[in-house]
């Protein structure tokens, strides 16, 4: 009688390959909580021997934002809420009604931000966020009007042109310690 042959084993040789593939997939795709946030660029520290230059800016070209220790906002002398800030900023930069108290042109517009040492960090971020949102919305609108496409779909040159048209200039003054917090 012939020897009864065992059923041929299932070839598991490729199992390792499959597992390796999975392993590599996981190694590549595990991005551990990506860091996100609001990016800004700090102004360089003035040189010590450099005379303090006071760049004269026309009053109308500067949007003065003051935040006090009670997290209240004063924009060009008017008390506003965070919700209204974006609209006010957009209106200031673009000045569609050619208001003589608002900026001459978007390129000349400067936003000056001054906060108190007692201002809460959250409010400060919200202010920055609204300012950034104002600029982003204006750029987006310009991209749509000029090229009929979203800003990020434009070529680099077109995008830079628009970013340059609405360039974001935020000047931050040294905060004051007016007390009432900290």
């Amino acid at each position: 009688m012939k020897k009864n042959r065992a059923t041929p084993e299932v070839n598991a040789g490729s199992m390792a390959d499959i597992a390796f593939l999975l392993l590599i997939f996981f190694l590549v795709t595990t991005t551990i909580d990506t860091d996100k946030g609001i990016s800004i660029r700090l102004p360089p520290m003035p040189e010590i021997d450099q005379p303090e230059e006071n760049i004269k800016l026309k009053e109308r070209n500067v949007l003065k934002i003051l935040v006090n220790s009670a997290d209240q906002l004063l924009v060009d002398g008017k008390l506003v809420t965070i919700k209204e800030l974006k609209k006010a900023t957009k209106n200031f930069i673009d000045n569609p009604s050619k208001d003589l108290t608002l900026s001459e042109s978007p390129q000349k517009a400067v936003v000056s931000l001054k906060n108190d040492r007692g201002t809460s960090y959250n409010t400060y971020i919200q202010v920055h966020n609204e300012l950034k949102a104002a600029y982003n919305e204006l750029r987006e609108a310009k991209a749509q009007a000029e090229y009929g496409r979203a800003l990020e779909k434009l070529t680099k040159e077109q995008g830079d042109e628009i970013r340059d048209y609405y360039r974001q200039v935020i000047s931050e003054a040294e905060p004051e310690d007016a007390g009432g917090g900290n």
């Binding site: 660029r41 520290m45 400060y124 040294e174």
Partner: protein, 155 residues
């Protein structure tokens, strides 16, 4: 003849356990990839914002944490917000030294792309954040990111 009959091909190495080994490795990596971040000694909830950008190169980011000390350190350090650099509490004047250390750990070409990320608790007052900002300016580390999470609801 007899000898020849007995001669067999050398037995193949049994690889049936290889997948198990690789799977074990896979699970090991899946479980352990919690990318070692510095142990947080401060309690912080970052503010929420809508206009946030991703930080591209994680290896080029140095972190500064600001917030009230977590519970285990409260008896020692109180509840006032503090700065944490690497694994220790610090004062603002230590920031330039910290930046210098971060720089020396990178190659010359990478230094201009170094970004500092401030992870501060939303309840923190701006005083301490401003101090850090001034020190960063002093250290000429001007690229700054205020870490925030995405806010989905609009107000």
């Amino acid at each position: 003849m007899k000898l020849q009959k007995k001669k067999k091909a050398p037995p193949a190495i049994n690889t049936s356990s290889l997948p198990d080994i690789v799977f074990m490795l896979l699970f090991f990596f899946m479980v352990t990839t919690v990318l070692r971040q510095t142990d947080l000694k401060v309690k912080l909830v970052v503010p929420q914002a809508t206009e946030i950008q991703k930080l591209e190169k994680k290896s080029l980011v140095s972190y500064i944490y600001i917030g009230p000390p977590s519970e285990t350190f409260r008896s020692q350090f109180g509840t006032a917000p503090r700065i944490q650099l690497n694994d220790a509490f610090a004062v603002p004047s230590q920031v330039p030294e910290f930046i210098e250390k971060e720089r020396s750990a990178r190659s010359e070409a990478e230094i201009p792309f170094l970004t500092t990320s401030i992870k501060a608790d939303r309840e923190t007052k701006m005083g301490i954040v401003t101090d850090v900002k001034q020190e960063l300016r002093r250290a000429n580390s001007l690229k700054l990111n205020y870490s925030s999470s995405l806010r989905t609801e609009v107000y």
